[in-house]
């Protein structure tokens, strides 16, 4: 176990360093000159040269890379060309909203996927119709789900809000900056239910595709586990089917579903960007959406590093969890 942990963490560091190399090289090949964009078109030659020197763009590429990594480790991510603030400051401001939404969606995807997998592992009538439904779920783009959700639950039924994180005028701003947690800490039950209400629609839009993938993988591994000898033994001991499924089959079947969940996080992040823009969710996705048309590459580099690191962390955690669930796995 200790060896596995060390190997996985070592691989993680390597991948993160490679991610930094990729972002760094993209920044160099990008045709938009950050100095030009920052100073504007009318800057004098002397001002440009001074800014170049200040930012270190006149030094050798290897020196630039080393100082880039050093800056990153200090949490220093250049200046945004659009907001004129340090990218790191912007990200810190936007990250909690995205983290709250992403975690909520991840839990939702895991729960929905679990239900989907377990209920369909048992054979039942109408499985063909079900296949049709899950395939539709896997084919629905997040923006369409968001639009239909807004039209149905906001415009027609008035059940759920369509924009923002909270309708409170003075939503609490600390200590965790997750509105759901903060309202609870302040004992504001109304604020809590309101925040959950704001999470439901965007969360569902992000969670649906991963949920279907997780469900399909879980189903197929459950089906093959339920055919094994030890499950037959458990059944012949007279255990109820539910107990067999949960205590005996689940633990051996969860592995593939876990790794599918980890892999889906990449597509989920892309979904977060789309959904945040549609629901006006003040997070990293909205920040990305605003950065793209302005060619604000420092901001996009920061976003890529943060989301990429998040993805790598989640998948490392998934690998370790898999080994915990099934000790036969020695990666």
């Amino acid at each position: 176990m200790a060896g596995l942990l060390l190997r996985r963490l070592g691989a993680m560091v390597l991948v993160l360093l490679f991610l930094v190399v990729v972002v760094f090289s993209l920044e160099r090949i990008s045709p938009t000159d950050p100095v030009h964009s920052f100073l504007g078109a009318n800057a004098s030659k002397a001002a440009i040269a001074a800014e170049r020197h200040k930012l270190g763009y006149d030094r050798p590429i290897v020196v630039q890379y080393v100082s880039y990594v050093r800056d990153l480790l200090r949490g220093n991510l250049q200046m945004s060309l659009r907001t004129r603030r340090p990218v790191a400051t912007d990200l810190v401001a936007y990250l909690p909203a995205t983290a709250e939404l992403a975690l909520f969606s991840l839990v939702l995807a895991a729960v929905l996927g679990g239900i989907l997998g377990v209920t369909t592992a048992a054979r039942f009538k109408g499985a063909g119709l079900f296949r049709f439904l899950t395939l539709s779920g896997a084919s629905a783009p997040q923006f369409l789900l968001a639009e239909l959700g807004i039209l149905l639950f906001y415009r027609r039924l008035h059940w759920l809000p369509a924009t923002g994180r909270s309708s409170l005028a003075n939503a609490p701003r600390g200590p965790t900056r997750f509105i759901t947690v903060d309202t609870l800490l302040h004992g504001n039950i109304h604020g809590f239910t309101d925040a959950i209400g704001h999470l439901i629609l965007p969360g569902l839009c992000i969670a649906l595709i991963p949920a279907v993938s997780i469900g399909r993988v879980l189903r197929s591994s459950l089906v093959s586990t339920m055919r094994t000898d030890y499950v037959r033994t458990a059944r012949s001991k007279g255990l109820r089917e539910v107990v067999v499924l949960w205590r005996h089959a689940m633990r051996n079947s969860i592995g593939p579903a876990l790794s599918m969940g980890g892999l889906q996080v990449g597509l989920m992040f892309a979904g977060v960007v789309v959904v945040e823009e549609i629901f006006g969710w003040p997070g990293i996705g909205l920040y990305t959406y605003q950065a793209i048309p302005r060619s604000d590459f420092p901001a996009i580099a920061g976003i890529t590093l943060v989301l990429g690191a998040g993805y790598v962390l989640v998948n490392t955690a998934v690998d370790i969890l898999q080994a915990v669930a099934d000790p036969r796995i020695a990666l």
């Binding site: 691989a11 991948v15 783009p141 923006f143 639009e147 597509l267 992040f269 789309v274 790598v312």
Partner: protein, 293 residues
């Protein structure tokens, strides 16, 4: 049932023998009908994509009538905020999406397959190095990396395709390498080697054909995801510039009209879903047809 069928070990046989075998066996079962309908639909979409300029009732970028006309016999899907026919724009958008997805899949299969074939055939340190590179790419979030690449190159359809192609190959490299490794241990490869076949001949004639079924199945199950990913990038403004009829971009620009003129942003979204759905259905069909459940 299962014992009555002739035994065919998994992952043996070329694409042709497998399809022929499977189709012959499946002809009697009704389950295959849905699969064939789905594949037929996908072929129809491909043909429609070629014929779009003939099929579209109006020019996609020209004003055809009043702005915000409701869907009617005249404009089947309505008109948008400047009065362009949405049906024509959606048809051209479908064509762009579908061809773009095929291009990216083809490049992913070629690059990934090439790397996997070299790694699997060569073995040793070449295998190690290539697979470590593949693993590192697999460990990064593809869609996010693609956004960064297009943002760095500057938004355009060509750059989007390049960006997605850069992140879409590692999976194929793993699959082809795995298949090739498994095949290399089989007697027919041993026989070819003893008969004096060179490395290149061995790889191309004896190993590559066996890896094709798994690759085709993976690719066909993958196209749906690719359609969605490309639509997301287009939605984010990373595709062709403004008047171009791209489905994702049409949704993004029509979003302001969602609550009043719902058809403007909904129709292109439905088109994306339709394309992804048919692709996924056909992917399942191809998998069943090749017997790789």
């Amino acid at each position: 049932m299962a014992t009555a069928e002739p035994y065919l070990p998994p992952s043996v046989g070329t694409l042709r023998t497998r399809v022929v075998f499977k189709v012959r066996r499946r002809r009697r079962s009704s389950a295959a009908i849905g699969d064939r309908v789905a594949i037929g639909l996908l072929v129809a979409i491909t043909m429609m994509a070629f014929a779009t300029p003939l099929l579209a009732p109006y020019k996609p970028n020209l004003i055809a009538g009043d702005a915000f006309a409701r869907p009617s016999m005249h404009f089947l899907l309505g008109t948008d905020e400047v009065g362009r026919d949405i049906l024509s724009r959606v048809l051209f958008g479908l064509r762009t999406s579908w061809f773009a997805s095929l291009e990216v899949i083809a490049s992913g299969v070629t690059i990934g397959g090439g790397i996997g074939l070299v790694a699997g055939t060569a073995g040793g340190w070449i295998d190690d190095v290539l697979m470590r590179i593949t693993d590192i790419f697999l460990a990064l979030p593809g869609p996010i990396l693609a956004i960064a690449v297009v943002a760095a190159l500057g938004p355009s359809l060509q750059h989007t395709l390049i960006a997605v192609a850069i992140v879409w190959w590692p999976f194929y490299s793993r699959i082809v390498r795995g298949e090739v490794k498994a095949l290399a241990a089989r007697p027919h490869v041993e026989a070819a080697r003893l008969a004096g076949a060179g490395r290149v001949r061995l790889a191309l004639r004896h190993l590559l054909p066996g890896a094709i079924p798994a690759t085709v199945v993976t690719a066909s199950l993958d196209v749906g995801n690719l359609v969605l990913t490309l639509a997301i990038l287009s939605f984010l403004g990373l595709g062709a510039p403004s008047p171009a009829p791209e489905l994702g971009a049409m949704v993004a620009r029509g979003l302001n009209y969602l609550l009043q003129e719902w058809w403007v942003p909904i129709m292109p979204g439905l088109a994306v879903m339709f394309l992804a759905f048919v692709a996924n259905l056909a992917g399942d069909g191809i998998r069943d047809l090749l017997g790789m459940a």
